[in-house]
Amino acid sequence: MLARIRSKIARGSAELSIMALLADEPLYGFEIAKRIEEKTNGALHFTLASLYPMLYELEKRHWIVGRWQENQAGRNRRYYSLTPTGKKHLVPLRREWRSFFQALDQLAGVSHA
């Protein structure tokens, strides 16, 4: 049960992290993983195996779209960007997570932990 909850939280937070990043600018897989790790000081870490199935899943839902283009080094990379549908979903997703953390904070004082 606990493992299932953990897995759902991890999955949900991964979705939010990716979508929030892509709301700022289109990025390709490696950049997404790096950017998330940097911004969270290593607290969130995506491996290749955890990142791409998640990206493909979000793409299947039409929340993000990937397209091939050259990066600054002239290499062909698949850049992901948020779709209008994805932008619509990001707003309630952010709200849900904010409420979740507020509730958790009230219950267990996690923000001061």
Binding site: L48, M54, K60
Partner: protein, 211 residues
């Protein structure tokens, strides 16, 4: 530098997806591993250590299953519709589909048919640019972008090859001499294809320089 394409291809050889999706996945994972490996090298590891560490993060059989489930059948159909059929339909309709409107083809047989051809030729680069924009926006591969842009010329080339070979091989009576057929091929295939491609290339170049 290890051949990451080969590494991924070997590890995911049982991936149950259509070939075009498999190739796309391989290219994407190859790029990721390549950058990961380079980062490990830049961090001071020797090549063999960097190689091992790069591969350590992946459970390939699990990854293959996850990819298969996240790129299901529905996704494939949606992608094909979105990336190939939709831009192709626009391309065909905008460049040659209007010829099916009753009365339009007669303008091309009028005593001075150069004007309709001229108007048509002027619109073709715009059609090419529009289809180029659409296919890029929906994330088509480069090959798919090129095919959708050139589809009207490809369709017409098949048609003209069929007409020319029928006339030539079966020696049937045809009201048009071979020279006219050649001109038809030139206009509907070569010039149309060139005009569409010019429009698309111009858009892609502009898009790239603005990016």
């Amino acid at each position: 530098m290890p051949d990451w394409n080969l590494v991924v291809r070997e590890q995911l050889h049982r991936l149950q997806l259509p070939p075009e999706l498999v190739e796309e996945v391989i290219a994407e994972l190859e790029a990721h591993l390549e950058e990961q490996y380079e980062e490990h090298l830049a961090g001071g590891l020797i090549q063999s250590e960097a190689f091992d560490l790069t591969l350590k993060q992946v459970n390939w059989s699990r990854l293959a299953k996850d990819i298969e489930s996240s790129k299901g059948k529905e996704e494939l159909m949606n992608r094909r519709t979105k990336q190939i059929w939709f831009p192709s339909l626009i391309s065909l309709t905008a460049s040659i589909g209007w010829m099916t409107i009753p009365g339009i083809p007669s303008y091309f047989r009028a005593p001075r048919p150069s004007l309709p051809y001229l108007v048509w030729m002027i619109t073709l680069p715009l059609v090419g640019a529009t289809v180029g924009y659409l296919s890029r926006r929906v994330g088509s591969t480069r090959a798919a972008q090129l095919v959708t842009v050139l589809l009207p010329a490809i369709v017409m080339s098949a048609l003209w090859v069929m007409i020319i070979s029928t006339v030539g091989l079966e020696r049937i009576q045809h009201p048009l001499p071979f020279a006219h057929l050649g001109v038809g091929f030139l206009i509907w295939v070569v010039l149309q294809g060139t005009a569409l491609l010019c429009g698309a290339l111009l858009f892609w170049k502009l898009d790239k320089s603005l990016a």
